[in-house]
């Protein structure tokens, strides 16, 4: 009996200490209800003492990036596509002083436009390429659009991202991977693209040798079939791989940072092994950094507990996807094992290298996206990176016990320390729609103006999630501006 009671006590303690993770249902930020109109109230947002935040544009549809022209005027891109398979028109808009917008350019049905930069008189936009493949677009101030590069392999879960121009005058951009962890499965059919492009899959940048792990699922291409199908890594749905099989690498590829001349031409590989290098920015010292949305607990090869990463991007380096998270292999210890499932096996028989230590680790499912560096000591935190956290997409990407992200954080890239900078007020964290307040919803980009006196936050707007997937709301996006208060005010 003593043993029984001891075990009971231990179990009770264990249950308490673990917060009964398995027993509790997911409580993500997007798991709520939303009724129009979106309330916008900067008083619901907390920023450090000495700073103020205000909204400068509202009712945008899926805004994702911001840039400033030579006269310091702000421009924002609207994506034209959102998870949930909602298509609108991608647009480059100028934000006028009164908060209204003027259309500079419109794209076709090949969003999402995921980011924009301005360099020497022209805009450069990353076109996600959900239907026709990714492109990098040059847009003149008059609205003329011409592609610098096209045919990028981004018809899957993740898209063509960036862009950022380096000191070398080259334009750097990212291409995310098609899948969660290398294997096309049910989750990709839920996203929508796997039915549209059943042959689409991840392309490695260099030749890779596989162990030949295959993952059995229902045949989602033939729902009436009772036969299961096997799918290997870097392969179309339903194609098995064998031990020692070599998958040929190619450029352009998935999970990579590439660059292209501003005159256009073939893309060059910079580094690979990322999952979704969404935000790219150069530090004041000229070093390139990229945020990387890490693994989800979904699909045929789910991965538990992998936080988003910030990398310093070094030429020729491999950064670990799909077998590592940071420096750690996915089969080490029990760190990445989903509840009641096997821990992920490694798909490579010979990894292409060892990933370096990340510059910082963010919260799991925070969707740490657009970033920029403070260059002005007047604003403060000079040399630190400011990162917009879009927030979790639970339950689609995996269960969470509370909303994750929905804020702006600052990162000391020398120490890896991550601190909140702008976050909704209240007893708990979450998007404004869940808190029933008027603050931040889903920050997706953070960008300083040219003189570094103001930090602009692009807020995508309302994106709810449930077991069916994503449910975005048009015309709920906002641009916020954070400035230093004048002394004595």
């Amino acid at each position: 009996m003593k043993k029984f009671l001891g075990a009971l006590l231990a179990l009770s303690l264990a249950g308490g200490l673990s917060g009964c993770y398995k027993m509790r249902s997911s409580a993500g930020g997007g798991q709520t209800e939303f009724n129009r109109p979106r309330i916008v109230n900067s008083n619901d947002i907390a920023v450090p003492d000495g700073y103020r935040i205000e909204s400068i544009a509202r009712e945008l549809t899926f805004p994702t990036g911001i840039a400033f022209d030579g006269r310091g005027r702000a421009y924002v891109v609207e994506a034209g596509y959102s998870y949930g398979e909602v298509w609108t028109t991608p647009r480059l808009l100028r934000i006028e002083k009164d908060g209204t917008t003027s259309i500079v350019a419109e794209g076709g049905k090949n969003g999402p436009w995921t980011g924009v930069t301005f360099y020497k008189g022209n805009f450069y936009v990353a076109e996600g390429g959900e239907l026709d493949g990714g492109r990098i677009l040059k847009i003149t101030p008059e609205g003329d659009i011409s592609p610098l590069v096209d045919g990028l392999p981004s018809k899957g879960d993740h898209h063509t991202n960036g862009p950022a121009v380096g000191l070398d005058g080259m334009l750097y951009f990212g291409v995310g991977v098609a899948t969660n962890s290398g294997v096309v499965g049910e989750d990709n059919f839920q996203f929508g693209w796997a039915r549209r492009y059943p042959d689409f899959h991840d392309i490695p940048c260099r030749d890779v040798k596989l162990k030949g792990l295959n993952y059995e699922t229902k045949d989602f291409l033939d729902p009436a079939s009772k036969e299961k199908v096997g799918t290997g890594a870097f392969s179309p749905f339903g194609r098995k791989t064998g031990p020692g099989e070599v998958i040929k690498g190619a450029v352009p590829c998935n999970g990579a940072v590439m660059r292209v001349s501003l005159e256009g031409g073939p893309p060059e590989l910079v580094a690979w092994g990322f999952r979704n290098p969404f935000g790219l920015a150069f530090s004041p010292e000229g070093k390139l950094f990229a945020t990387d949305n890490s693994y989800d607990e979904r699909g045929s090869r789910p991965v538990f507990g992998a936080g988003d990463l910030l990398w310093e991007v070094k030429e020729g380096q491999w950064y670990g996807w799909p077998d590592f998270h940071g420096e750690t292999a996915l089969d080490e210890h029990d760190h990445y094992k989903p509840a009641r499932k096997e821990k992920p096996g490694l798909v490579f028989s010979e990894p292409p290298g060892r990933p370096p230590k990340p510059a910082a680790v963010f919260a799991v499912h925070s969707s740490s996206d657009g970033l920029d560096f403070s260059r002005n000591s007047g604003f403060g935190f000079k040399g630190e990176a400011f990162v917009a956290q879009f927030g979790d997409e639970a339950p689609t990407t995996g269960k969470v016990l509370a909303p994750v992200g929905f804020k702006v954080v600052r990162v000391n890239v020398k120490t890896g320390s991550v601190e909140e900078f702008a976050v909704n007020k209240g007893k708990t964290n979450g998007p404004a729609s869940k808190l029933k307040k008027g603050g931040l919803e889903r920050p997706i980009a953070a960008r300083f103006n040219a003189d570094g006196t103001a930090l602009y936050i692009v807020d995508f707007g309302v994106l709810l999630h449930d077991e069916e997937g994503a449910h975005p709301s048009t015309a709920t996006g906002v641009v916020w501006r954070i400035t230093k208060k004048e002394p004595g005010r």
């Binding site: 303690l13 917060g19 920023v47 963010f362 919260a363 509370a402 994750v404 890896g416 909140e420």
Partner: protein, 120 residues
């Protein structure tokens, strides 16, 4: 063991569970970030070291000690030995962190940091 004794131990175990899980202790908000709670004082070296251990190993599931993938851990009156037990054994969905991952001295610093964060 007699019936009354058994009941007492049973009640104790349930109460302990409730206390450490935060269900029954009215622990309040876990928000400790600078914009909400002001800057955190990490001037003491062992607190600063513990903060680094936390950021490298814990914050991705308990961002700033708040709930996220895992439960909040900065608003519960957990004694140090239970924190260490949890870190080493990894009960529930939480993975274990053996000595080669977090050394004993790092674990001491981590506990100091978590206690300081709780008071912040």
């Amino acid at each position: 063991m007699k019936g009354a004794q058994m009941r007492r131990v049973l009640m104790l175990s349930i109460a302990a569970s409730l206390v450490v899980s935060g269900w029954g202790c009215g622990c309040g908000s876990a928000r400790r970030g600078a914009p909400v709670a002001g800057p955190f004082d990490d001037s003491q070296p062992h607190i600063a070291r513990g903060k680094k251990v936390f950021e490298e190993n814990c914050s991705q599931c308990h961002p700033g000690g708040e709930a996220g993938l895992g439960p909040a851990i900065n608003n519960k009156p957990l004694p140090g030995f239970l924190i260490k037990f949890q870190v080493r054994k990894g009960i529930g969905a939480m993975p274990s962190f053996p000595n080669e991952h977090i050394s004993d001295s790092e674990l001491d610093d981590l506990v100091s940091y978590l206690k300081a964060l709780r008071r912040h």
